[in-house]
Amino acid sequence: MGKGMQGILRGLIQAGMYLAYRPKVVYKNQQAMEVMNGGAPVVFICNHMSHKDGALIASVLHKKQPYFLIAKDWYEKKQFEGFLRTYGSVPVDRTGMDTSWYDACRKLLEAGHSILIFPEGKTSKGEMNAFQPGFAVLAEKTGAKVVECAHIGSYHLFFGERKRILIGDSYTLECPKDMRKSAYAKQIAGQARERILHMKEILEAMKSGKLKFTGDKADKAAWEMTEIQGYEKDANPAAPVSEAAATEEPQQ
């Protein structure tokens, strides 16, 4: 089974996911669209609500054909093993100190493939789990951009509520010289969680009609996001808060 089979399988899954769950995809801005259309590999991160997320979100991100991380116990189930290997996924042993996923993802990124990671590490209903920092370590080490995604909605087959996905900010990570990389990664993970939480609120506002589409319907990047109270349009997603900066006076 080679690339050809992988392409066919991905195509079938993508078609099935779109047909079944009819995802509504929006891009935060033009930059988000450009990253998706660009050739460089990226690390996508997304909130995790269901075991279907890997297939759906990877399908939505089909232009980048990402490999997604999946729990090893699922990867080794006989009924999924062949499919998951062919589709392109990386197993993670959540029960122990497994670092093989990191090595595998590093090699995939170096070979030009994108990765999809659910930093919560497990599904969450309601409140999102804390984000594990591994994606940030990976992105910082390889220089790959991180692309934030959020999704809301239940999985209703063919009818009913549609899944909604927002593709947001992308950024490159660079650990400051005065900061330990693990501390930086944890900080980035915490900040990313907050932003994805906010992205979910934006999606809810779109769903309820509180946030209206203001641009040309053909230009999906023309959404005006600043109406949402507290949304910091110009905030630098990858700006670290080093110990030195934390003691400075806040700028106006």
Partner: protein, 82 residues
């Protein structure tokens, strides 16, 4: 490669990549406890660094091999290709 050279390279990697002050890094200083206090996230950097410098893959290796610079050096010396 001589053992002292390997140990020196590992120390440099720990200073550069993990931002551990050089003065804390005696060869037998515990990396994952005590004063230095690395955690599992830091182990990813160590694994990547050892792989990059020596071509030795430490993925899945028992954590005793990460205890200190001596343990890391021993592992590299035993597993690096000649």
């Amino acid at each position: 490669m001589e053992r002292t050279e390997v140990a020196a390279k590992i120390k440099d990697m720990l200073v550069e990549n993990l931002r551990i002050p050089a003065e804390m890094l005696e060869d037998d200083a515990e990396l994952f406890g005590g004063e230095i206090g690395l955690d599992s996230v830091d182990s990813l950097e160590i694994i990547a660094g050892i792989d990059d410098m020596f071509g030795v893959n430490m993925t899945g290796v028992d954590k005793t091999n990460f205890r200190d610079i001596n343990a890391l050096t021993n592992y590299v010396m035993e597993n690096a290709e000649a």
